[in-house]
């Protein structure tokens, strides 16, 4: 395991070295989570690097990442544990006739027959891990309630077996797109981190880090444009992920400047709705053409 960072800025440096440019608040909360042993609830618009944060943390801290992708209808059997029914069946059949039923009964509900799902796995591994519970807002409230035990006490109660307590303390990150109000009980157990679209200067640094070959002027113009596009009334405003994609596309095309033509050709990388395309072309594309004409005068 890598050496544990001794303060928030050290952790931030580590994240940068790994290619994740965290702002001070993000680094601070991540570090507090590490120190206090509390789960972090990360909220923010789609594509600002919530999931990426967990991945980067796991690499920096030298821990394994266990990921639980949430969806509607996710239940205990898929998230927590399940009895290995086939193996139990085999066990019963392999038994000779004269064995007492109670022996078999006790036997087939042992840890040997327990199938570990991500949540249980996260707390029963010897090495501490980073547990990412992605898009918690997609599940229903019953699932949230089930999480409470694991989040506050790091233990899981299996009726047939008793309580399984954590062998190691995982760092837990829960992400949410804020599509529904999470329960108070869940929020109370977590630290809260809101990641928003970054400030222009911060985003510029991210672009530089991710696409080092891109000319500085292009990068700056790109950030400026993305900022303007975000201010429009769009169905899906471009996120950091899209800015990076755009930067990569421009790099591939070898663009030296973003003029109206380049913009029109690559616009689809950042804008992903039919109606949005029209709006952006109308509002931004025209402005670019004007700027060009003015500069060539």
């Amino acid at each position: 395991m890598a050496t544990a960072p001794s303060n928030a800025s050290e952790l931030a440096d580590g994240l940068v070295a790994d290619g994740y440019l965290a702002d001070t608040q993000t680094a601070l909360v991540a570090w507090l989570a590490l120190e206090l042993g509390k789960p972090v609830l990360v909220e923010g618009p789609a594509g600002v690097g919530k999931t990426e944060l967990a991945k980067a943390l796991s690499r920096v801290l030298g821990r394994n990442l266990i990921r639980l992708q949430c969806y509607e209808g996710l239940d205990e059997a898929k998230a927590l544990y399940e009895w290995n029914y086939r193996k139990q069946l085999l066990r019963i059949q392999a038994e000779s006739d004269d064995t007492a039923w109670t022996d078999v009964h006790d036997d087939i509900f042992g840890e040997e027959f327990l199938l570990e799902r991500p949540l249980l796995e996260a707390i029963t591994t010897e090495e501490p891990v980073v547990l990412l519970i992605d898009e918690i807002d997609k599940t229903d409230q019953e699932f949230e309630a089930m999480l409470l035990e694991i989040l506050s006490d790091f233990q899981v109660s299996v009726p047939e077996l008793g309580t399984l307590t954590a062998k190691s303390m995982p760092i837990v990150l829960l992400t949410s797109n804020n599509s529904r109000e999470l329960t108070e009980a869940l929020k109370r157990r977590c630290l809260y981190l809101w990641i928003d679209y970054p400030e222009a200067s911060h985003e510029l640094e991210i672009i530089r880090l991710k696409t080092p070959g891109l000319p500085e002027t292009v990068a700056q113009k790109l950030i400026e444009l993305v900022g303007e596009i975000r201010d429009l009334d769009l169905k899906k405003p471009p996120s950091i992920a899209e800015s990076i994609d755009w930067a990569r596309a421009l790099l591939l095309l070898g663009a030296n400047d973003i003029d109206a033509k380049v913009f029109r050709e690559t616009m689809s990388v950042i804008v992903k709705h039919r109606s949005d395309l029209d709006t952006v072309a109308e509002r931004i594309g025209v402005k670019l053409a004007d700027a060009n004409a003015a500069s060539s005068d």
């Binding site: 608040q25 909360v29 409230q141 019953e142």
Partner: protein, 469 residues
């Protein structure tokens, strides 16, 4: 300044301050419980106390748990520690405001020159320069004309005088630093610094802390006037829509046991020799109401009502059928208009000009409206229809005709009344909301939260408000 006194009372120490801070947060509506307090205490043990950002970060991560809470937290944090610092300074009798740039040298600052200087500083200078610019502006402003005594007014007045805007101003001469517009984040920062500087000056003048002012509901109010950005509104709407969607899921989950579909079960049992092995249940479909919206667009409520109409239309998918009417003295249907037009400003303009509600007096006549509505729509009303009225129920002295309204309510399944006025003003003057309230569910609706509550109530199937009453 009673609170400042208790904050700095000996023996209260850091815990006391944290407690006072949490209490202020709660007073503003942030749900910060004991568990949060404990977390906060644990968290600040791990950060550098002298570092303002780190303190802010640690406290906000533990005390504020939603974007809304974050916003309130920032405001309260700012206010609390500003007051704490100023309070301490007052107690020690220190000179608070540092040397004012305006006092030295020239007794009158050239305003034109100052405008350029500030605009340039804001556009190009480092972030730290913003504060100096703010001080400069406040000092110059104080010289040319006295303040109004209200900080908020003064801030706007200073900004206007300096001609600072975020959008480009092409009519300004070449080389003017304001021509390209000031970056809006810089402008906000500038305003904040100016505000703080003005507050500081006021404290210095009066030698007391002003009473701590609650943030006020207005800051959380609905986006009203058409000047406001449509994007803001759509954000509210998108949230509501997703909430509705997840609520639907919730209801589905709760209704696992259902009525058995006998026909389907028997048919399936043929496969297993007539033994009904698999039970088929009748799916219970979520109720999607048919909605009739009646919207007052007289001048007193225009902005909020049109906003509201556009929200309902954005939520169109959630409803089976929806028809909208606007009224002042007479009633007029605008369903098509909303289907065609997405732009908030265009809609309000179209309604104002050619929706057929251009009346002589411009005063609402509820009695007549009910009558016309009954004439046009009565045959279409049925127990599964929902009627929503948006208006302030101010009759302008004309007959209320609640008997007609009662007829409408009786025909429709559910009837809601949304009043964009705060409850405080209900039934004062010519407001007759009480008379109508007999027959419908009344909602106070002037913040985004209240609107959210209403939409949830609307989408909640089953419960009939009239019988519940």
């Amino acid at each position: 300044m009673p609170r400042a006194a208790t904050n700095t009372a000996p023996g209260s120490g850091f815990d006391g301050n944290l407690l006072a801070f949490t209490r202020e947060l709660r007073a503003e509506g942030v749900a910060a419980g004991t568990a949060e307090m404990l977390d906060a205490t644990a968290a600040i043990g791990h950060v550098d106390w002298a570092d303002r950002d780190a303190m802010h970060g640690a406290l906000s991560a533990t005390l504020a748990k939603s974007p809304e809470d974050m916003r309130l937290f920032d405001a309260v944090f700012e206010r609390f520690f500003f007051r704490a610092a100023e309070g301490a300074a007052l107690e020690q009798g220190e000179q608070i405001a540092a040397g004012q740039p305006g006092e030295e040298g020239a007794d009158r600052i050239d305003i034109e020159d100052l405008k350029q200087q500030i605009a340039k500083g804001l556009r190009e200078g480092p972030e730290g320069a913003v504060r100096d610019m703010a001080r400069l502006a406040v000092a110059a402003f104080g010289q040319t004309q006295g303040g109004s005594g209200v900080v908020g007014v003064d801030v706007q007045r200073i900004r206007r005088q300096l001609g600072l805007r975020s959008e480009p101003q092409p009519d300004l001469p070449e080389g003017d630093h304001r021509a390209q517009g000031i970056p809006s984040d810089r402008l906000r920062m500038f305003e904040k610094e100016v505000r703080r500087e003005l507050e500081r000056q006021m404290i210095e003048r009066t030698q007391t802390l002003p009473p701590s002012r609650p943030l006020g509901d207005l800051e959380r109010g609905l986006p009203t006037g058409p000047a406001q950005d449509l994007a803001e509104i759509h954000k509210v709407v998108a949230q509501l829509r997703r909430k509705l969607a997840t609520n639907g899921q919730l209801l589905k989950g709760q209704r696992r046991s259902n009525a058995i579909d006998v026909r389907k079960t028997v048919r399936a049992s043929l496969q297993t020799g007539g033994v009904p092995v698999v039970l088929h249940q009748r799916p219970k479909r979520p109720k999607r109401p048919e909605i009739f919206v009646l919207c007052d667009v007289s001048t007193s409520v225009t902005s909020s009502s049109i906003f509201f109409l556009s929200v309902l239309h954005a939520l169109h998918d959630s409803f089976r059928k929806m028809r909208s009417f606007v009224f002042i003295e007479r009633i007029s249907e605008v369903t098509e208009l909303f289907d065609k037009e997405r732009d908030f400003k265009k809609v309000s303009k179209a309604i104002a000009t050619d929706a057929g509600v251009a009346d002589v007096s411009g005063y609402t006549d509820y009695g007549r409206v009910w009558k016309e509505f009954l004439q046009q729509i009565e045959s279409e009303l049925h127990p599964r229809a929902t009627v929503i009225v948006l208006g302030d129920a101010r009759t302008n002295g004309r007959p209320a005709r609640e008997d007609l309204f009662a007829q409408i309510a009786a025909k429709a399944g559910r009837t809601f009344w949304l009043n964009p006025e705060p409850k405080l003003y209900w039934n004062y003057g010519d407001s007759v909301i009480e008379a109508y309230g007999e027959y419908c569910n009344t909602f106070e609706c002037w913040t985004a939260n209240q609107l959210g509550e209403f939409v949830e109530a609307l989408a909640r199937p089953g419960s009939d408000p009239k019988h519940a009453r």
